[in-house]
Symmetry: none
Subunit: 212 residues, 4 copies
């Protein structure tokens, strides 16, 4: 509560503060159109100070992506690992709920949105995301799928199709809400949306009755 002395607030928080600011500005203007000075101002620093912590604008983007990729992958993996063995269906519902909650929150989906927008022109970022997020997610989903097949809850569908069926709606949700400002007609609550999806997908994954 003491007066904050302009300079040197939290000694080691600077890099993270800058990354937060960078995410905000990149997210708002795109990487190429973002100005370092804007990031600096957003972080409460001068332009030059930013370069004490990051060697270039691109270094900030990389730092950002690494940070977010780590969090993302860890989250999904844990969730699946936790619930899968006991009850694949419940684990799947939980996964979708988390996915929609994250993808529907502009603050949380800012990093993924950025990666979507920029990965096309930064092969390193694409590769990093692929190995740190997508591959991890695929493994997690494959495990979940295997557990479900084992328990008799799921049919043995193609893992890549399963990944698209599961993750795709989340991405679509993000795009519709945070990029296009699409007004939701009925299902405003992410959890309800997730449950509605889970309802369709779990039903669709269920083993068919022999007669059919």
């Amino acid at each position: 509560m003491t007066s904050a002395p302009k300079r040197r607030r939290r000694p080691d928080a600077r890099p993270d503060e800058i990354l937060d600011a960078a995410l905000a500005v990149f997210s708002a203007k795109g990487f190429a159109a973002a100005r370092v000075e804007d990031i600096a101002r957003e972080a409460g620093l001068s332009k030059g100070a930013v370069y004490l912590y990051f060697a270039s604008k691109e270094a900030m983007l990389n730092g950002l992506v690494e940070q977010s990729a780590g969090e993302l992958a860890k989250g999904a993996e844990q969730l699946v690992a936790l619930g899968a063995p006991q009850d694949p269906e419940t684990a799947f519902r939980g996964l979708l709920r988390m996915l929609f909650a994250a993808m529907g929150d502009p603050d949380i989906n800012a990093a993924p949105r950025l990666v979507f927008a920029e990965a096309g022109r930064f092969p390193e970022i694409a590769a990093h995301y692929r190995s740190q997020v997508l591959d991890v997610a695929r493994r997690a989903l494959r495990a979940l799928l295997a557990a479900g097949v084992e328990s008799g809850a799921f049919r043995d569908v193609d893992a890549d199709a399963f990944m698209r069926a599961t993750g795709g709606p989340g991405i679509a949700h993000m795009a519709l809400t945070s990029i296009f400002g699409f007004p939701p007609d009925q299902l405003t609550d992410p959890a309800e949306m997730a449950d509605a999806l889970a309802d369709i997908l779990l039903n669709g994954l269920k083993p068919r009755v022999p007669a059919l």
Copy 2:
């Protein structure tokens, strides 16, 4: 059919040639990093000539988006309108096949990818896409859903959830293949992928047996 001297084939094709070139360059470098000179070269014109047809770089982006939005919406609408009344399930399968074929082809998905990447910073583009593509798609899907419910093929699920469940996997497919270069494990053929998805979703949409 007379021999054309390379240039000035169809006197009015210039704008479209430029838009094609612009799509290629925007897609490769992003709007902000794309140089008008590159677009001009790609179109076989001088830098100055481009400005005879478009008032600014942003005008090219708008033209591009309008063009692509028109095509996209028309395609989806027609497909649904055509097949829906007779056989909603077959129409749905056809829709998914078209979606995956389009989203898996880098030449075709270039425009949607671009819109995804740039809509965040161009509200007009977002609005245009929303009204010309998303709203149209929603109406078409709603009609398809209604037809399916009517015929007893589908349950009456939420339309927005249905849209996410249908379009999402297509977007995911585009991202995985064209942005992240994700290697498909088993399902390389878009049609098979579409069918696998249709299999899951149609099953999931099927009305439950009362007993269950």
Copy 3:
């Protein structure tokens, strides 16, 4: 006498005009402190236009050095080659006159001064000057010396010492007049200065009388 249209005076003279301007500005401020904008203004162009002809500030320096090195070496070589066979002493006097005339004229010695000042931090420039100017000069002097020895006009002194004895005073002249603004006490005319030097050196190079 027609009105000069601001743009496009002599179509292909631009690079040379820019190099002239660059020499003036580099010479006045040094390479590092020179601003491209100053060069542009000196050349009657905008900042950006300079980059239509040279890729970078350093490219201008290189262009400058190459240009000047070529002229310099050619001049010295021709002079020596012309007079040496007939009359080494006269050729030597001519060489010194040319050297002092060049080194005493700020417009002419600007390029050598620049090379002196910057070669230390641009190894390529040093190497280029060494091979294109210094080595050529050494060969020319060696030939002159050999001709003089043959004709009995010179003793057979060390070629490198001869080079220092001949070129050094020229460099000193340049430094004293153009760098330090040293006021000449008596010998203001470069030709007289050259002749006074020639008098000392030719006398010193003369074979000693056996008795002495």
Copy 4:
């Protein structure tokens, strides 16, 4: 004589340590491109500490020049003053030896090289060097020349020409070896080079035989 803790050896040596560091960095990169931080590191200090001793980067350059100018002039003057009365020829040989030894040693000629490179854009430095070094050297040479004339060893040549003939080869030696990395063909030893020069010049300065 007690063990010094590395830092703070001689309390007043700091300025000189900084000047040493500054000379090294200026010499390597040129004044404009030299960074104060590099100088500080070279001197084993923090960037800020340098400013406790020098008000600005330019102040370091001035300090450096003053220091070196003093040493240089004093050396030459003493040498000439010492030997001139007794034996002008020997004094001249000694002067040349000292000159070549100094000009051939990169550590010793660093300061003169720097002055050569920068005096053009720092009028104060040029003026200081002119009055503290060049004028002193001219007086010393004039005295040596007068002594030689008196003793019958030298002809009465122009003093400025004499200065160029004496100092020029030294400057050339410095340039060839320390700036251009010119490979010496035969005379590697500075003393031999000085003697070869002395041989030519002393011979050239000798009064002519009446008959000639």
